[in-house]
Symmetry: C2
Subunit: 476 residues, 2 copies
């Protein structure tokens, strides 16, 4: 058990503390003995190498602590503001030529999962680099298009996360540190590119988003002088959203904020289409939530010695983690299977593996980490309201602080647990919890469910190993 955990326990007056085996706790409950049950499992599941690794990191404890304090301070200080919408090619760094950005860590065409392949084909057709599906597939397979992670370009995207040069992206600025992040626009549910659909209907909607929605929202955001996303997320967390899989309140607040400016800036016939589209898409804010989290986490990148997790992302094949103190290196493991509630007519055999950059929200302390703010989400992702509260409480064991701006009413306005320390993950064996949508494994079918998934332990162990090597080398 880490000293952090011990310290927390000593804060309370208790007669019995049960550490580890849950059945002992159940017996105590049965005989009405007041006690606290402490989750404990052997570090890294009893992995002796990991235990030794944690020991070796103890040598650098002071450096790490100082670096982590700096990382946490930068995350909490972030002030994400949506400032513009522009075509990706004009604003996203390095977005030149035939390039497509995808979710998660790097992955080759050969190893890409179905929905991402479908989305790549759709994006190639959308960009006009091919005219048939077969041509598009051949182009992708031949390496005729650069396929790179969003995260390598200060960007994020939900599910397949495809960002192509002519797509409009929100420009989100961290008005504290000055860094920017970019995110494409949410297409709504059903047959959409991010779930690998690439039919004519999908491409037509993307064209409308490029030609109408993007310019209209860009003009309104500029007229508004920017939209404060930290404020919207904070208010939405008091309104039942966790701003990953539930964005009903945040979307409504965002639309209501922009409504007066849209009215002033948009042409009447476009305004009607934009209003109709935004009125029907409760998930629209997800992408903004992600970009707001991305600018906060990017501000904490590159702090030598820090074991804070600055990115978690999945490409449907692998789950990847980046730490502040290990540069742009990815630490990956096979993408996990999701414990999901499936939509009628679908089941586990239909599900793609965990996919998307959207767990940047959990990385920043919302989404599954703030599930206590969104009890109604259990109807979507499964579990009970009690589970929702417990997930947030559990995540306090692996995080360094609280985002007080993101007060959670059901926990008496305690802040969202923020700043995942990879050491705490490995030490406690408590894995970051993620709320997520589930894509059909075949391209083009769309979402088939939603559920809960845990980040894989190996990513954190490997990340710490690399951190320890860097710290040891710099000592020499």
């Amino acid at each position: 058990m880490s000293s952090t955990l011990l310290y927390r326990l000593l804060d309370q007056e208790l007669k019995i503390i049960n550490i580890g085996v849950p059945s002992f706790s159940e017996t105590l409950t049965a005989v009405n003995a007041p006690h606290i049950h402490v989750h404990w499992a052997p570090p890294a599941g009893g992995n002796v190498e990991a235990v030794e690794l944690l020991d070796r990191l103890e040598v650098h404890a002071e450096t790490i602590q100082r670096a982590n304090a700096e990382a946490l301070a930068r995350i909490l200080a972030a002030r994400p503001v949506a400032v513009d919408v522009q075509p990706a090619r004009d604003v996203v760094p390095g977005m030149d030529g035939r390039i497509l950005l995808h979710a998660g860590p790097p992955v080759t065409w050969e190893r890409m999962c179905g929905p991402v392949r479908g989305a790549v084909i759709g994006a190639i057709l959308f960009e006009g680099w091919a005219t048939t599906h077969a041509e598009a597939e051949a182009l992708a397979a031949s390496g005729g298009v650069r396929l790179e992670p969003n995260h390598h370009h200060s960007a994020v995207g939900p599910m397949a996360g495809l960002t192509s040069p002519s797509m409009p992206v929100f420009v989100v600025e961290n008005q504290e540190a000055g860094n920017r992040a970019y995110v494409n626009m949410n297409e709504g549910l059903g047959k959409v590119l991010r779930f690998g659909a690439n039919s004519a209907e999908v491409l037509e909607r993307l064209a409308w988003m490029r030609d109408v929605l993007g310019p209209a929202l860009g003009a309104a955001i500029r007229a508004a002088g920017g939209v404060d996303l930290k404020s919207i997320t904070a208010r939405a967390l008091q309104m039942g959203d966790e701003c990953h899989n539930r964005n009903t309140a945040a979307t409504s607040l965002f639309v209501r904020t922009l409504f007066p400016y849209l009215v002033k800036t948009a042409a009447p016939e476009q305004l009607a289409e934009v209003a109709d589209f935004l009125g029907r898409n409760d998930h629209f804010y997800l992408n903004l939530s992600m970009a707001a989290c991305k600018v906060a986490m990017d501000a904490a990148r590159g702090i030598e010695g820090s074991s804070v997790v600055v990115a978690m992302a999945r490409n449907g094949t692998e789950f990847g983690v980046q730490l502040s103190g290990t540069g742009d290196q990815w630490f990956t493991a096979p993408s996990p299977v999701i414990d999901a509630l499936f939509f009628p007519g679908y089941g586990p055999e239909d599900a793609a593996r965990d996919l998307g950059d959207s767990c940047i929200t959990e990385t920043a302390g919302i989404g599954g980490f703030a599930m206590a703010a969104a009890p109604a989400i259990v109807q979507f992702v499964g579990g009970s309201v009690g589970d929702a509260l417990n997930f947030t409480k559990e995540m306090r064991n692996i995080t360094l602080g609280e985002e007080r701006t993101y007060g959670i009413p059901a926990l008496d306005f305690a802040g969202a647990p923020t700043g995942i320390d990879a050491r705490l993950v490995v030490d406690t064996g408590i894995l970051p919890v993620i709320n997520t949508g589930v894509a059909h494994k075949e391209p083009g079918v769309g979402q088939v469910g939603a559920g809960i998934v845990r980040a894989p332990m190996d990513c954190f162990v490997e990340g710490l190993r690399a951190l320890e090597e860097r710290l040891s080398q710099s000592d020499r």
Copy 2:
């Protein structure tokens, strides 16, 4: 203790039940003895007449039970839909000539509190029946204007609740029973008529609402084919509103629903003004919430023998209650003092007494009754998050059922406690809890705080007395 309460207790497996004195329960808690504490106080605070009254009502228990079941069924079946906006004179029954409607039970000019007097003067000026404040006051004092309760005209209004003939009102239809209710439009915060302000600024806003806002919203609502208020309230209760003092989510959902239709129907320059007004007023949905509750409760009126409360309302001087089984009779008591959080610069000495028709929301099972849905409201009305949960649980003891459509996430989606039985109120001594705004006692200052208030016991005792007399007479 009523049989309803006993029945609820027998539902659970318990070893110790403590009834009454709370300190016994505290002792049990101190020694960790699992038990349940049951609120019990002598019926009607030990009022022997009230105990005898309850006994006499037992003779009619079967009639009352049948009548109450019918009342509850009608409340739960209600389907409130906003269908139009029209000038009050054109749609509100009996709204002819020089008439002004006010909140609460009937009250003469002489006995009116400051904010209602201020609003009456403002409404007279707004209607052009006088040109100076002094003239307007003289007109009101001379009986030159009929002053009648909203509730006598199928209407409701928050705080002073003034409804004048040329004001635009929402028309809300109960699409189950076919009855309609009417409500004026929310002016926002600050200096507004409903808090008794009547300056030029207030009257100009009312004129704009009459000439621009009302017609624009009416056209949009008609174009939308009506707006389902039960659905909006249900969703808002999952988003941290209780739809009395917190309407942030509901307002956002309402605006977002109407946005596409506003865009299609409103002239561009008006649209900008309407969008701006709606964008700045988080309380806008309150009035719609009230009218939705009013149509549901009106559907339960006039059921012979029913002890269900169909209206609670305050005019700032008196608090009034109406029961389903006692026709249009009001049972009144002095309007209570509110336990409030005051805005900076104000204190209890500034406060008007409890005021407004807005507790129609509590009458229908939301507002203070659904406070568990809105933990963030404790920051506005005071108390802890635990209090918010407890208020809803407590109200189950005086209500006949649950509105399952209004599922409360923090209580594992239990429905809002609905259908106040005046017998249960008198029997248990548990008084209906109301979230409310606090007006300054002088007209024109505006809101000075918000807090919690309890309906006065006398109203329920008097109501039951009248019910018992009617039932005894019909037996003869």
